[in-house]
């Protein structure tokens, strides 16, 4: 079992959450080129190490939040709420 620290509810089983993806900034729809949209939607850094990502606590507070997770050993540290 892997525990995720929800900023609202505290540590909960990862099965209560939905993984949203790497946290990154959405391009400005009025100026972004198709190449920039493609990069935003489909290309990810996917590092072996620390990554900042968004999770959704569907079985609890129903809020989105960011955490930092190490993809090598699944260690997590808090990174604050995103909404």
């Amino acid at each position: 079992m892997m525990l995720l620290p929800c900023p609202n509810c505290g540590a909960r089983n990862v099965s209560e959450f939905r993984y949203v993806g790497e946290a990154k900034t959405r391009p400005d729809p009025t100026t972004a080129t198709p190449q920039e949209w493609r990069r935003h939607l489909y290309l990810h850094r996917n590092p072996a190490g620390w990554t900042r990502e968004t999770w959704y606590h569907g079985s609890g507070c129903r809020r989105y939040f960011a955490i930092e997770r190490n993809t090598v050993d699944n260690a997590v540290r808090t990174a604050g709420a995103t909404s």
């Binding site: 609202n8 509810c9 909960r12 089983n13 099965s15 209560e16 569907g58 079985s59 609890g60 507070c61 129903r62 809020r63």
Partner: protein, 232 residues
């Protein structure tokens, strides 16, 4: 050959809760409920007829002050506009208001007035018929819930008057610790004795499954289904 005329009933409509149990049923306040009587030490009671309102608004502000509680805590209103209601801080900026059966119209109007007076924008929706609500009462209640819920139910983590939402038997459930006065076993004789009691609230369509899962998990503790030990 003419069709026989359809039977016309003039009886008042009867509402049904999310839960049905084998055995006799009775009508209370226009709701069909099990008529079974539970006398054991661990009881699961169907509180489906209670009025249930959801309030959504800013988490920390005037609405929170007017409702008297925030995320993770409960407030029982004994006086004021919401007298008789139990307000549960179900989430950040999300409240559940529970009231006695049959008070839906008045409680909805009172809650809307309280929210309007706060000056903040918030929504109040009556979900009485859309949710399931049960009360699990007995000293063995935390041991039962530990089988189907990963949250530590120790007094230090979930004291009386607190609430959380988590997975209970894989159903997203609001769990509210609301201990009740123990009238039969009160050693001090001053009304301070309490029996462990939890309210469990989930979507209506998951209610029967949740109740069945609780009854299954409670068999080893002698769980019984029946009328609540306390009126509220």
């Amino acid at each position: 050959m003419s069709e026989p005329a359809a039977a016309v009933s003039t009886a008042p409509p009867v509402a049904r809760t999310a839960l049905a149990f084998p055995g006799p049923r009775r009508i209370v306040d226009g709701w069909e409920l099990t008529a079974r009587h539970a006398t054991g030490d661990l009881v699961l009671a169907d509180l489906g007829p209670l009025v249930k309102l959801t309030v959504r608004g800013p988490a920390e502000g005037a609405v929170r002050a007017a409702l008297g509680t925030g995320f993770g805590r409960t407030a029982r209103h004994d006086e004021g506009a919401l007298a008789g209601a139990l307000v549960v801080g179900a989430g950040p900026g999300e409240w559940l208001v529970l009231g006695p059966a049959g008070t839906g119209g008045e409680l909805l109007a009172a809650t809307r007035a309280v929210v309007a007076d706060s000056g903040e924008f918030a929504s109040v929706v009556d979900v009485t018929h859309g949710r399931a609500l049960v009360r699990l009462t007995g000293a063995a209640a935390p041991a039962l819930l530990a089988k189907v819920c990963a949250i530590d139910l120790a007094d230090r983590v979930v004291p009386d008057g607190s609430a959380f939402r988590s997975s209970v038997a894989r159903v997203v459930t609001d769990v509210v610790r609301d201990d009740i006065r123990d009238e039969l076993d009160d050693p001090a004789g001053d009304g301070t004795a309490r029996t462990r009691s939890y309210l469990l609230h989930c979507e209506r369509s998951s209610g029967q499954y949740l109740a069945d899962a609780l009854v299954d998990a409670g068999t080893e503790y002698g769980i019984e289904v029946g009328a609540p030990p306390s009126a509220r």
